[in-house]
Amino acid sequence: MLILTCPNCGIAADETELHADGQAHITRHGAGASDDDLETYLFMRNNPKGVHFERWRHVYGCGKWFHAARCTMTLEVFGTYPAQTLEPPKELVAKIKKKRPDWEGFVK
């Protein structure tokens, strides 16, 4: 039963107030995209054992989307940040690196 702090409204929200929606920072490939890019966009997922960046919506709260960095093995939450960004904030990446020295770093 996760608890995630919504960066938009500041509430530490219960998992049941949130909606999870998979991997974050996926590049949209629309009209004109190659078959490979389209397939990657729609289906291919990192699914890591370990650090994962993912999308959440505070659906029973402020209604806003945000991103979370979470470990899929321990469920530790490294941080949450607004969804309006193409990659995770630098400080967060540094913080994770410190906690998980073996982590390869953020890959899209």
């Binding site: 998992e15 929606d21 078959d35 389209l38 291919m44 997922r45 699914n47 890591p48 899929t72 469920l75």
Partner: protein, 415 residues
């Protein structure tokens, strides 16, 4: 291998059962095998079994990071049915179901396949239409199913409440030869048969790397050292993404927790398996008497084999509405498994970007019932090197082509 029988038990009883031999050997890995299968779940073991049985390939190792059958095969709600909508699904699940019918005899191990019948309840007009569609398709596919009305449902399941205030039971899709089997026994029976064919089942041995050369696999790295092979099959369910990562490719799937629970055992009160998909609950009663209950998946990636409690609430809530008498039963235990869910929620069986590496995954929430069919199909793919037969439509390429095998379309779910 000594055969199991009532006579053998009587003989052993006389000497207080001191004479039974091991069900399977626990060998150390050899340096090379013709085929290595990663994952000693039902699918991996069945693949090995049919490699031996159908193709005579027995220089095979099945590598298991924990104890065999301890993945999802050891933690599922054991529902077996084949009334799937889409042709490729109906074909492989029906093959599996028919193999379950004779599995105890084939393996000389009682897997307790119990074709007690499965009802999928229709609780909305939409569901009625979906199931009628499936019934029509099944009739043409040669899968025996039947649409039944509420009275018949009540006859089959006397404890059901037909007129729930929210979702009355409007009928159901009934597969009389669906049912359950003893999940652990399926893994154990295959393991015993594989071991008996001379295959090595290596437990407590985790695969940590895949050795490659020129786009082919040469062997694997494990916690018990390096092992070489001519062909590699990956059959690791929830860990597929992780293994693919080691091998250097990505898969169109995500790993999430799916949960189940059992009640305390009670005397028999429900003879068939009931699935209520509108309200997300399914239930059967095991031979020991527990009500075995399955629920929904979590929305987030997770490898902990623990799920979130609120899914159990939802499931139990729904089932109490459907079976009011369970309100005063108690939950004995609940647990989770990590299931691999693909983009269209159907499995993947076939080739990979690596030449001699084959994959079988994506069974998600519903692959127990498929074990023998999947093993059969996967063995064919590995033996021939071609995605063909039952596996033909389940290749990875379907995602790029947009050729989905989507079972959710007719009010269907995968369990």
């Amino acid at each position: 291998m000594k055969r199991y029988s009532a006579f053998a038990i009587a003989r052993e009883a006389a000497r207080y059962h001191t004479g039974w031999e091991r069900a399977w050997r626990s060998p150390e890995p050899k340096s090379h095998y013709d085929v290595i299968i990663i994952g000693a779940g039902g699918h991996g073991l069945a693949t090995a079994y049919y490699l031996g049985k159908n193709y005579g390939i027995t220089n095979v190792a099945v590598i298991e990071k924990g104890w065999l059958g301890g993945g999802n095969t050891g933690r599922n709600t054991t529902i077996i049915r084949s009334n799937y909508l889409q042709d490729p699904s109906a074909a492989i699940y029906e093959k599996a179901r028919s193999l379950y019918e004779t599995m105890s005899q084939d393996l000389n191990y009682n897997v307790m396949f119990s074709p007690r019948g499965v009802i999928m309840l229709a609780q909305t007009e939409h569901e009625i239409r979906g199931y009628q569609r499936t019934a029509h398709a099944n009739a043409l596919q040669g899968v025996k199913t039947e649409w039944i009305g509420p009275e018949r449902v009540k006859q089959l399941v006397p404890i059901i409440e037909l007129s729930g205030p929210r979702y009355p039971v409007l009928g159901g899709l009934w597969q009389s030869r669906g049912g359950t089997a003893r999940h652990d026994a399926v893994a154990w029976g295959y393991a015993r048969a594989c071991s008996n064919m001379g295959m090595d089942i290596i437990q407590q041995c985790e695969v940590t790397g895949i050795d490659k050369s020129d786009g082919n696999v040469t062997g694997i790295q494990t916690t018990k050292g390096a092992i070489k092979c001519n062909k590699l099959g990956m059959v690791v369910a929830g860990n597929s993404g992780h293994l693919a990562d080691m091998a250097g490719f990505r898969l169109p799937l995500e790993s999430v927790a799916l949960q189940a629970l059992v009640s305390e055992p009670i005397k028999p009160c429900m003879d068939v398996v009931v699935m209520a998909n509108t309200v997300h609950g399914y239930m059967s009663q095991s031979d020991k008497g527990e009500m075995v209950i399955g629920g929904g998946t979590d929305g987030f990636n997770n490898y902990t084999q623990r799920g979130s409690f609120h899914h159990l609430e939802e499931t139990v809530r729904a089932l109490i509405e459907t079976f009011p008498m369970i309100s005063r039963l108690k939950m004995l235990r609940h647990w989770g498994g990590i299931v691999d869910v693909t983009g269209d929620r159907s499995p993947i069986i076939g080739t990979t970007p690596l030449g001699n590496c084959y994959i079988n995954c994506g069974w998600g929430t519903g692959g127990f019932k498929a074990i023998p069919g999947s093993g059969w199909a996967m063995a064919e793919v590995i033996a021939t090197g071609e995605p063909q037969g039952l596996a033909a439509e389940f290749g990875l390429n379907r995602f790029q082509e947009g050729r989905f095998i989507d079972e959710s379309v007719a009010a269907g779910v995968a369990h």
